[in-house]
C-alpha cells in the first residue's frame, strides 16, 4: 500500500508527458511488456492482503486481477491492432525522439499503467457521452483524446482537416448526414472532427481506408439504406485486400468476420425496410439532412466551403456526386404535405445539402418527422430482436416483446452463471490440452443441443429464478444443507432451461444433483445419460475418448 502511495506523486509528472507524446500506443507496448511484472508484483501483494484480512473472498479476486490485467491488455492490444494500428505503426519509428518518456514509463511501471488507465477512463467516458453519434465513433476516440492536446485548439482547423479526411475517404460525408439522429449530430460532428484531425495528420491514405472501412461495416450493421449497403459491399473486397496487406493482424480479420456475421442480419434490415415501402427511408434521409442542417449550420458552412474545391481531387468523387444527388431524388418525391415545401428547398439542398433555415417554419412537422423516423428505427430493431429471441414470432406489440427480450436475457445470464458454477466444481481435476478440447468442442457444438431446446413457456419460472438468484449467490454456502436447498431450488426452477446430461461434480453434492436430474428427466426434456460420479478420471482415458470421437 505504501508503494502505491509513492507511485501516486510520480503520476502527475508522467501524465503530461504521456499526453504530449503522440506515441501513446508505444506506451501501451511497454505496458504490455510490463504487465507481466505488474501482475507478478500484484499477486504477492494480494497474498499479504489476504493474510491481513483473512478474507477468502479477496484472494480469489486478486488472482483474477492478474487474469483481468491480461484480458484488458489483450483488449487494448486488440483495439490498437484493429483500429489504431495506423497510429502504432507510424509512431513507433518516432519513439526514438521520445525515448525519455518511454524511459520514464519503464522505470515507473505502476504510474505508466495507471496513467494509461486514466486515459482509458477518459477515453471511455467521451464515447459514452457521444454514443448517440454512432457506434463506431468511440473505437478510435478511445485512443485519441489524450493526444489531442498537442494540436492547436483551432476548431476551424480541426474541422477542415476533418472534412479533408472525410471526403478523401469517400462515403463518409454522405453516410454521416442521413443516418444520424438530429440531436446527435453536434457531438458527433465535433467528435469526428477532433478524431479526424490527428488522423489526418498522422495517417496516410491506406490507414484511413481501414478506419473508414471499419466504420463502414459498423454503418452497414446499424443503418439501413440500400446505398450504404451497396457501398459497403463494393468497398469491402477492395478494403479487404488493403487490410490484409497492411496488417496481417489477427484482430482486424476477426473483427471483419464478426461484423460480417452480424451484418448478415443487418442486411436483412434493408430488405425488411424495403418491403415496408421504399418511401420511408428516403424520407428519413431527407428529413435527417434537413434536421441536421437546422442545428449545425455554422459548422457546416465552414465545412462546406473548403469541401467543394477539394472534392474533385479526392479518391471517389462519384460517391460525392451520388451523395449530392440523393437529396435531390429524395426531395422530389411527393410526400403529402411536405412535398410542396420540399421542392422550393430542393435547390438549396442540392448546393449545401444541409441548410434548412428556410424551412424552419414547420416545427411540428419536423418533430413528427423525427419521431416517425425514430419509431421506424425502433420497430426495425424490434423485428430483428424478434428473430433472435426464440418463440417470439407470434408476439406482437412492443411491450410484450420487450418483456420477452428481458426474460430471455435474464435466462441467458443465469445459464451462464449456472454453467460457470458447474465448471467451477468440475474444473480442478484435469490438465487438458486445448487443441483436443477445441476439436471435440467444435464437433460437439455441431451435434449438441442448441438453445432452441429452450421451452417457450419460460416466463413462468423466471420470477422464481429472479428471487432465488440473490439467495443463491449471497448464501455464501455456509452449510452443505443450505447449499443443497438453494441448489435444489435453482435447479428446479432452472430445470426447464437446462438440457444436457447433468454429471455429478463432487461426491458431496451428488445426492442433490441426482434428485434434480430425476426431476429434469420427468419433465420430459432432453434426457441425456445420467452418469455415475467420476471421482478421479485419468487424463489418458479422456484423451482416448477425444481421439475416439474424433475418429
Amino acid at each position: 500500500m505504501a508503494g502505491r502511495d509513492n507511485l501516486e506523486p510520480e503520476k502527475g509528472n508522467v501524465d503530461p508527458l504521456n499526453y504530449h507524446s503522440p506515441n501513446l500506443s508505444a506506451d501501451w507496448r511497454f505496458s504490455d511488456a510490463n504487465l507481466m511484472n505488474t501482475s507478478v508484483e500484484l499477486i504477492p501483494r494480494c497474498n499479504s492482503m489476504a493474510d491481513f484480512k483473512g478474507n477468502l473472498v479477496e484472494s480469489p479476486s486478486c488472482s483474477f486481477v492478474s487474469m483481468v490485467d491480461s484480458f484488458c491488455t489483450t483488449i487494448w492490444d486488440q483495439s490498437t491492432h484493429s483500429q489504431n494500428l495506423g497510429i502504432c505503426e507510424i509512431n513507433v519509428p518516432n519513439s526514438a525522439s521520445n525515448s525519455n518518456t518511454l524511459g520514464i514509463g519503464t522505470s515507473g511501471m505502476g504510474p505508466l499503467r495507471t496513467g494509461g488507465e486514466r486515459t482509458l477512463g477518459m477515453g471511455w467516458t467521451p464515447p459514452n457521452a457521444m454514443l448517440k453519434g454512432g457506434v463506431f465513433l468511440p473505437t478510435a476516440s478511445g485512443m485519441l483524446p489524450p493526444s489531442l492536446s498537442q494540436f492547436p485548439a483551432d476548431s476551424g482547423f480541426i474541422e477542415r482537416a476533418a472534412r479533408f479526411s472525410c471526403f478523401s475517404a469517400g462515403d463518409f460525408g454522405d453516410i454521416m448526414n442521413p443516418f444520424s439522429s438530429p440531436q446527435s449530430m453536434n457531438p458527433y460532428s465535433r467528435g469526428m472532427a477532433s478524431m479526424q484531425g490527428p488522423q489526418e495528420v498522422f495517417l496516410g491514405n491506406g490507414l484511413k481506408t481501414i478506419y473508414n472501412q471499419h466504420q463502414k461495416k459498423e454503418i452497414s450493421m446499424t443503418e439501413n439504406s440500400k446505398d450504404v449497403e451497396g457501398k459497403a459491399i463494393k468497398g469491402s473486397p477492395l478494403k479487404d485486400d488493403k487490410k490484409s496487406v497492411s496488417f496481417g493482424g489477427d484482430g482486424v480479420s476477426g473483427n471483419e468476420s464478426d461484423e460480417a456475421e452480424f451484418s448478415g442480419g443487418g442486411q436483412e434490415e434493408p430488405s425488411m425496410l424495403e418491403g415496408r415501402g421504399g418511401k420511408p427511408s428516403p424520407k428519413a434521409v431527407g428529413s435527417k439532412k434537413r434536421k441536421r442542417s437546422g442545428q449545425d449550420i455554422e459548422i457546416d458552412q465552414v465545412k462546406r466551403a473548403p469541401q467543394q474545391p477539394t472534392e474533385t481531387p479526392k479518391d471517389s468523387p462519384e460517391i460525392q456526386q451520388q451523395g449530392n444527388q440523393s437529396p435531390i431524388s429524395v426531395t422530389n418525391k411527393p410526400n403529402g404535405k411536405q412535398g410542396k415545401q420540399r421542392s422550393p428547398a430542393s435547390a438549396s439542398l442540392k448546393e449545401e445539402y444541409i441548410h434548412v433555415r428556410a424551412r424552419k417554419g414547420q416545427a411540428t412537422n419536423s418533430h413528427s418527422l423525427a419521431e416517425r423516423v425514430r419509431r421506424e428505427k425502433i420497430s426495425e430493431r424490434m423485428k430483428f430482436l424478434q428473430d433472435l429471441v426464440p418463440g417470439c414470432s407470434k408476439v406482437t406489440g412492443k411491450a410484450v416483446m420487450l418483456d420477452e427480450i428481458i426474460n430471455y436475457v435474464q435466462s441467458l445470464q443465469q445459464q451462464v452463471e449456472f454453467l460457470s458454477m458447474k465448471l467451477a466444481t468440475v474444473n480442478p481435476r484435469l490438465d487438458f490440452n486445448i487443441e483436443g478440447l477445441l476439436a471435440k468442442d467444435v464437433l460437439q457444438s455441431h451435434a449438441g443441443p442448441s438453445t432452441l431446446g429452450f421451452p417457450p413457456d419460460m416466463t413462468m419460472p423466471f420470477p422464481l429464478l429472479h428471487s432465488s438468484q440473490p439467495g443463491l449467490i449471497q448464501a455464501g454456502f455456509s452449510g452443505l444443507g443450505n447449499s443443497s436447498d438453494t441448489l435444489r431450488r435453482t435447479i428446479n426452477s432452472q430445470g426447464t432451461a437446462m438440457t444436457g446430461g447433468y454429471k455429478e461434480p463432487t461426491s458431496q453434492v451428488s445426492n442433490v444433483w441426482e434428485d434434480e436430474l430425476h426431476n429434469v428427466v420427468q419433465m420430459g426434456f432432453n434426457s441425456h445419460v445420467i452418469s455415475a460420479p467420476l471421482n478421479s478420471p485419468d487424463l489418458s482415458g479422456i484423451t482416448c475418448k477425444l481421439y475416439h470421437i474424433d475418429f
Partner: protein, 158 residues
C-alpha cells in the same frame, strides 16, 4: 491423427475465439488454484469462472460494442478497487459516468426499457435505438457463450 481437418470451419468466429480464450483462462486458473472442495472455495471459484467467461467474451468482442466496453470497464474497476482500496477515485469516476448519461428514459412506450438497461451492461447511458442494437448483439454473444460453456462442461464431465 491430425487436427487440421477437425478445426472449425471459421477459425475467426466469435465462438472459436471465445472458446480458445476461455479455455486458456481456465487452464491458467487451474494451474494457480489448489484443488479443494470446500464450499467457500467453490463459491469463490465460481465467481472467478463467471468473471473469466464474461471477460473473455467481452474481450473477444473488443471495443466495438458498448456493452463489451462497459463490461470490461466494470471488471477493471472491480480489480482496481480490490487492489488499491482507493474507493474515492472509483466513486468519482462512477458518478461522473452516470452524470454524463443524460436522461434516456423519456421515450414513450418503453417503460420496461429500464429493466433492459439494467440487464445489458452499459445500458444506462444509451437511447432506445442503440439499446436495442446492443441488446441484439449481447444476446448473440450470450448464446455463443452459453453454447461453448455447455460444451466444455459436458466435456469435463463425460
Amino acid at each position: 491423427m491430425t487436427l487440421h481437418q477437425h478445426l472449425p470451419s471459421n477459425p475467426r468466429s466469435i465462438k472459436t475465439r471465445f472458446a480458445i480464450r476461455f479455455l486458456q483462462t481456465l487452464k491458467r486458473l487451474n494451474k494457480n488454484r489448489p484443488i479443494s472442495s470446500s464450499l467457500r472455495e467453490i463459491h469463490g471459484r465460481y465467481r472467478i469462472v463467471k468473471l473469466a467467461a464474461d471477460a473473455s467474451m467481452a474481450s473477444v468482442v473488443g471495443s466495438r460494442r458498448v456493452w463489451s466496453r462497459a463490461l470490461l470497464w466494470k471488471i477493471r474497476n472491480r480489480a482496481l478497487r480490490c487492489n488499491s482500496m482507493k474507493r474515492k477515485r472509483i466513486h468519482a469516476l462512477r458518478v461522473r459516468r452516470r452524470g454524463g448519461g443524460g436522461h434516456p428514459t423519456r421515450e414513450s412506450g418503453f417503460g420496461q426499457a429500464n429493466d433492459l438497461r439494467k440487464l445489458v451492461p452499459g445500458g444506462e447511458v444509451m437511447d432506445i435505438c442503440s439499446l436495442l442494437d446492443e441488446t441484439a448483439d449481447y444476446i448473440k454473444c450470450l448464446t455463443t457463450q452459453v453454447q461453448v460453456m455447455r460444451n466444455i462442461a459436458d466435456l469435463y464431465t463425460s
